[in-house]
Amino acid sequence: QSAKVTDATVAFLMPDQSSTRYEEHDYPGFEAEMKKLCAGCKVIYQNANGDASRQQQQFNSAISQGAKAIVLDPVDSTAAASLVKMAQSQGVKVIAYDRPIPSAAADYYVSFNNEEIGKMIAKSLVDHLKEKNVQAGDGGLLEINGSPTDAAAGLIKKGIHAGLAEGGYPILAEFDTPEWAPPKAQQWASGQITRFGKKIIGVVAANDGTGGAAVAAFKAAGIDPVPPVTGNDATIAGLQLIIAGDQYNTISKPSEIVAAAAANVAIQLLSGETPKADTTLFDTPTQLFTPALVTAENLKAEIIDKTVNGKPIQTPEQLCTDRYAEGCKKLGIGS
């Protein structure tokens, strides 16, 4: 690490607000790692709030501010090609983060694989149903996808379809939730509950917000117990629902790990080194991390006991507030 840069500007551009992870996990993780690797470096953080044009603005602005490497989680994977080209024409390194940029080769790609995530939650649900001996003829699944205008949601959706295809359970209905808005998901789910009633044997929801909305719809319809509902992102709210037994699974992707990797790659690229890659995706050297599927069984292990940067992913205090204390106890969390 001798020839390493000591002062450079690196930008960290995140796509949206549909979950808090970017500000709670990704950015802090990235920043911490940067501090470690290059104390004199400056980090620019921006979030595009789901708007590709705004992301372009932020990208340009980062270059104006002298950023030499940009970690980009694209709002629109396809459209981001233009950003990559623009950066490379000015000698700026681009590290694709979280979502790939298929039509232009970035300098590097680090990610939890969104398509894989979709596949994991779907498959886990299918396995769970099989385990409980639910027959394909007993009913079918609801599928709640993310925003129809969000490219990442499209990837997850693809994964879910792949995951479900193996299970053999029919999809009763599916829905692209505008803007990932939970109330919309709830309204749709309520309608399906009226339509299909007991025929719903499970719900694949693409994130914890829409999953929680599906749970709320079942509760509101007076259906108890709630059929298994998936989630994604391991938000506190989602984990609490798992603790309470209302939600079946979620995906924990301790983003700090990927963020740290991105920081490492950035420094290496800036120092003129070639970071080593596990594989190549879309002509881009790639490092993929496997996210952890969280259910009630492994929640303690994956969330409380696993540490990132020396801290647990979530502390029992955060999760086990009064109403969830009992559930926590059952899972052996806390005390």
């Binding site: 607000q17 549909s18 979950s19 808090t20 500000e23 709670e24 129809p148 209905a173 599916e174 829905f175 692209d176 505008p178 803007e179 990932w180 808005a181 939970p182 109330p183 919309k184 709830q186 309204q187 749709w188 309520s190 309608g191 399906q192 009226t194 339509r195 914890d208 917000g209 929680g212 909305a213 749970v215 709320a216 509760k219 509101a220 319809a221 007076g222 938000t235 506190i236 709210a237 609490q240 629902l241 309470a244 209302d246 955060q318 507030t321 109403r323």
Partner: protein, 416 residues
Amino acid sequence: MTSDVKQTATLLDRGDVRVSHDAGIGATIRSSIDKVRSGDLGSLPVVVGLVIIWTVFGTLNPTFLSSNNLANLLFDASTVGVISLGIVCVLMVGEIDLSVGSISGFASAMVGMLWVNQGWPVAVAIIAAVLVGGLIGSLYALLFNRLGMPSFVSTLAGLLAVLGMQLYLLGATGSINLPYGSSLVNFGQLLVIPRPLAYLCALLPGVVMLISGYRAAQRRRQANLSSRSIGALVVRVAAITILLEFVVFYLNQDRGIPWMFALFVALAIVMNYALTRTQWGRSMAAVGGNREAARRAGINVRLIYTSAFVLCAMFAALGGVLAAARLASASQQAGTGDVNLNAIAAAVIGGTSLFGGRGSAYSALLGIIVIQSIASGLTMLDLSSALRYMITGAVLAIAVIVDSLARRSRVSHGRA
């Protein structure tokens, strides 16, 4: 010869020979038909639009008309409906509030924060959220009254700033779950009016109409004014009562009528009373119709604007709390998306003018039911997002075309 005015009628308001009048049940029906012909229908056209929507969706998927689904519809309509009531207030005075969505989201975040995370009693948390909403409204009023800042701009700025505050509140934790089984969540998801009580409530409007109608007729007769025939009144009351009792009966087949919807209707009734039967409501209409004339009549115009902005923001906050109760969660997405547009559109579809001076609290009720019916009807059909958007747009247009046609006919009959 001056007496030719008096000859035809001795009533104070029947002095003009150019006006044709009618009395008695038969004549009332006749004049109703006339009214329909000339397009003077109030909210009937929107109701017709609604019936068309219901018929079509009901045919495509009969579950749509199941009382269970209608109960869902009523739950969902209540949250944005309450927000829309506030929008009616600002539209009445010819202003707008683009930030109701953000305010509702912020209020839900506040309740989640104060109640769940800080352990405040739920009622106190709700009151605090609604009061903070009112505070935001009074800020808009201040900017409007003191600096003359157009409400479009100030509330657009508010939209962003309040959304920022919502994200800030939820920043550390993300969404906050409201506990299942708590009274607030039960209210938002489960509680319905006990069946006998519901039947009783459905009698109320008729009884009130009958008594007040009878009293008014009596007073008017005493004052030497024309009055509606009692027969026609009874017919109308009977019709309304039968309709309401049928609705209650139908909904009681399954879950029943949500308390949350009852709250919404009660608020709409109160607002309707306030807007039509109090000095404040009269002043609102006057300020919306001709601000300068209202000022010259000695109305405290600034106070009226302030009341409109504050009420709107408070309704928005309350709507946000109800939405959180319905979802059992205070989420970061709450209040974003099309909450603003839906709340405004509901009021406009129901017949409230965007340019002030014309509107009614019931327009929020009707409008939001139209919007929610479209949304709910589409959930019953398996459509791609693209189709769903296109159809929502088309159905929305159709629902309003009926009203527009009726209004045109009204204009050509000189009743605009």
